[in-house]
């Protein structure tokens, strides 16, 4: 797997983010599923009790990749799953995030 994709995947795992970003890159759900399982196998993430959490090892790897790829503040640009935080997300409603939720 490409370092960039791996980085994005770890970022998604850390933030409970949207894997559709990977689908938009052209991966199938099957491939994404295999990627996730690989991360669990390498102990970069752990799946138990219906929860999927990134491990210390995973975070460390993510930070290493960030340095290698020379991403410094790019994390701030990728949002976690904000829509999950919104109740009654109707089409006509506009979600206004708090100031401290906005990227720098």
């Amino acid at each position: 797997m490409d370092d960039k994709v791996k980085y994005l995947l770890l970022l998604i795992l850390e933030n409970n983010g949207n894997i559709e970003q990977l689908i938009e890159y052209g991966y199938t759900y099957s491939e994404v599923s295999n990627f996730i399982k690989k991360e669990i196998e390498y102990k970069n993430a752990i799946y138990f009790d219906n929860k999927l959490i990134i491990t210390e090892k995973g975070i460390k790897l993510k930070n290493e990749l960030s340095k290698k790829l020379e991403y410094s503040n790019i994390e701030n640009l990728i949002s976690p799953l904000l829509s999950a935080l919104i109740k009654d997300n109707k089409d006509e409603q506009i979600f206004i995030p708090l100031l401290d939720e906005l990227p720098d």
Partner: protein, 313 residues
């Protein structure tokens, strides 16, 4: 339909667990596989309804080409052998209303013209739509029936008129279909057959792969005809839950359907609450969250293929 697809890594893992449990295959790199369509559908549903979607999936019966013949044989094998012994011949016909077409018969030309003038020609010319699933199933059954009990008595007539002339009161007619839900189709077909004095409730049975309890009892009550089926399903929500839990689950189904912009029958045709798909085709009794689709958003268990190429953007 909602535009944004949202899927978490946890959703993918839960989907994998359910696919493993059900023995459904994940085809790698296949964009219109069941797995992809399933996750695509899941990605459109509001997050707080997804657990119910998984729960419904867990109870879903997906019958594929691989096991269809075995399933219909399983249903046949539940018939009492003495019952089979008591008939001279066993005729198999699809559970379809047989509608005569008069088009090419000259003696009807004048009559047709009269009908046309009177505006009553619709009935005369009503033709059946393409191949029905009952016919497809019957032709598969016809290939592999020999080891079944009483198979030496089996007859598979080519046409209804031929069958009608051969049939005697000592014979049994088995009407075959893949599925009986509310029993509406079965009712129409039985009304058609029972019009003729040759047929009565004692020499007709309906053989299906799967049927719903309410359809079975309705047909039995109204006609005294038995529906033979190895897979019997109820109405999932009403049969399993009550009070506040039932209300909550029903509300979640409504939310799902509204999100997908489904217009009617949120709980399946006639509120059947069915969870079944046979030969890649869900009956309309199944919850529409599983089969409703548009060109852009394919369904995991469609009713018919409305899209040729599935394109996400």
């Amino acid at each position: 339909m909602a535009k944004k697809n949202v899927t978490t890594a946890l959703d993918v893992l839960k989907t994998d667990e359910i696919f493993d449990k059900k023995g459904w295959k994940r085809k790698e790199n296949d964009k219109i596989s069941l797995y992809n369509n399933y996750l695509n559908r899941l990605s459109l549903l509001p997050p707080d309804t997804r657990d119910l979607f998984f729960e419904l999936t867990d109870n879903f019966e997906n019958i594929t080409y691989d096991d269809i013949i075995q399933k219909i044989k399983d249903s046949y094998n539940t018939i009492d052998r003495n019952y089979i012994d008591s008939y001279r011949k066993i005729y198999f016909m699809p559970l379809i209303e047989q509608i005569p077409i008069y088009k090419n018969e000259s003696r009807f030309k004048l009559l047709n013209l009269l009908h046309k003038l009177l505006g009553t020609d619709k009935k005369t010319y009503k033709e059946r739509p393409q191949r029905k699933s009952g016919e497809i199933l019957l032709s598969l059954f016809e290939i592999e029936y020999r080891e079944l009990y009483g198979s030496e008595k089996f007859v598979f007539p080519d046409s209804y008129s031929k069958f009608k002339s051969q049939f005697s009161k000592k014979d049994l007619i088995v009407l075959v279909d893949d599925y009986v839900g509310t029993g509406d189709t079965a009712k129409d077909v039985l009304n058609f057959y029972l019009k003729h004095e040759k047929f009565n409730k004692k020499n007709i049975v309906i053989l299906t792969i799967a049927a719903q309890h309410h359809g079975i009892s309705r047909i039995n009550k109204e006609f005294g005809v038995e529906i033979i089926s190895n897979i019997k399903q109820g109405k999932y929500l009403i049969d399993n839950f009550f009070d506040s839990i039932l209300t909550k689950k029903r509300e979640q189904i409504t939310t799902m359907c509204e999100t997908l912009k489904i217009k009617s029958d949120y709980f399946g045709y006639g509120n059947s609450e069915a969870l079944i798909c046979i030969l890649n085709k869900s009956p309309n009794n199944t919850f529409p969250v599983f089969w409703y689709e548009t060109k852009q958003y394919p369904a995991p268990f469609p009713r018919r293929k409305v899209y040729k190429e599935f394109n996400r953007n």
